[in-house]
Symmetry: C2
Subunit: 267 residues, 2 copies
Amino acid sequence: MIVIKVGGSDGIDYDALCADVAELYKAGKKLILVHGGSAETNRVAEALGHPPKFVTSPSGYTSRFTDRETLEIFQMVYCGKMNKGIVERLQKHGVNAVGLSGMDGRIWEGKHKTKVRSVENGKIKILRGDHTGTVEKVNTHLIELLSSNGYLPVLTPPAISYEGVGINVDGDRASAALATALKADTMMLLSNIPGLLRNFPDESSLIETIPANDVESYLEYAKDRMKKKVLGAAEAVEGGVGQVIFGDARIENPVSYALEGNGTVIS
Amino acid sequence: MIVIKVGGSDGIDYDALCADVAELYKAGKKLILVHGGSAETNRVAEALGHPPKFVTSPSGYTSRFTDRETLEIFQMVYCGKMNKGIVERLQKHGVNAVGLSGMDGRIWEGKHKTKVRSVENGKIKILRGDHTGTVEKVNTHLIELLSSNGYLPVLTPPAISYEGVGINVDGDRASAALATALKADTMMLLSNIPGLLRNFPDESSLIETIPANDVESYLEYAKDRMKKKVLGAAEAVEGGVGQVIFGDARIENPVSYALEGNGTVIS
């Protein structure tokens, strides 16, 4: 089983991705596709007059402040436009895809964090009304039911709280939780850079391999959104996933290319 | 099996609907929920600067002209905001809901109509670039798989063309096709009026019963969106569905109330 997570940044070629996924799937690979939608969510939120707000935690992680209105915009883009756009591309290639959020069948469950600490001008502020969380429990039954009945699951945040409220979760770490729960051989995190870079954004400084027992010491090279990918990779390999690959999603055959070992391989 | 279709007009109480659905479901009723999202789609389309355009066919039926951009807005609202909002409400009530579009698992298939005839100022114009169609084939496998494994399916347009393109279909007629394919005992079409009215919009002129063999002669009383409900009802009873009920979705316990025979009952 391979869990493929493709990001939501600009520059990603979803047509190329879906063509490649379809070919591998039809050749018999067991795949689950997870996707993001961040850049498009920013655009739609701006257009709807509710611009995105990002917070940086005291430990340096950036996340989207998700009030109720933002959660609804998030669902529109992630679960509507992005998810059904990917399902449509896969169906065109003859793959019987089924698009789901982490709320459907309670696939991704976690605690609802209503408050978030944000560093602003060097001071820590508390923001309330947040709808975020971390996936603590993966209910694999629905994914396995679909997978074993000829459907390719296409999964996206949000997740759901124990009380049944939608929560925005990081897609990379949620994929790590999924890959762990499914005992995947490989988890792949594809985005608009070739992998972890020693000197971001210099693409020639690609780190090609990371030993599984030393992932966290590479956190120092991770900038912005890459931090959670490194954290997710650490969680996945600790959870028993055979290998994690950071790969480039701007190219033809991005999944096959990463599977050949191109990108940053953590094993 | 009961197929419940709830519309997308203003005034519908989705909280009350989901509370009622949850109670009936937990009491052992076999249910499938289908929903619309028209009013909210109009609002979001306006806000995004791509206002809705409706066309009236030479035979008097009104439908949304669905260019590619409209299809994506449609998916954002129907498959994102509305679908996941309903899934969230049901999950809060302890029902393990799974939200799907007609594209997922190719549940609803039909021909892609790229051209539509529109009557404007008494003249017939041809509009191109449309993404609409009619459900011709229902693939019940996914619905039945979920239903028989403890999940409540929550289904919404769009459907998918034979070539794998998203197509906007009428939700009432798509529900009729679904109810027929599932050999449902009952199909329920809930909206923001109490049923078919002899003198629209006078709610005291409710038509309480329609004989199954004479549905189409009641088309003369149907105004605007009600026309497709009557057409859908005719298709469902011809297809073998035991009864069709037009009910009110603005009230508490809308499903139970309609099941007691309140509204317009076609049988």
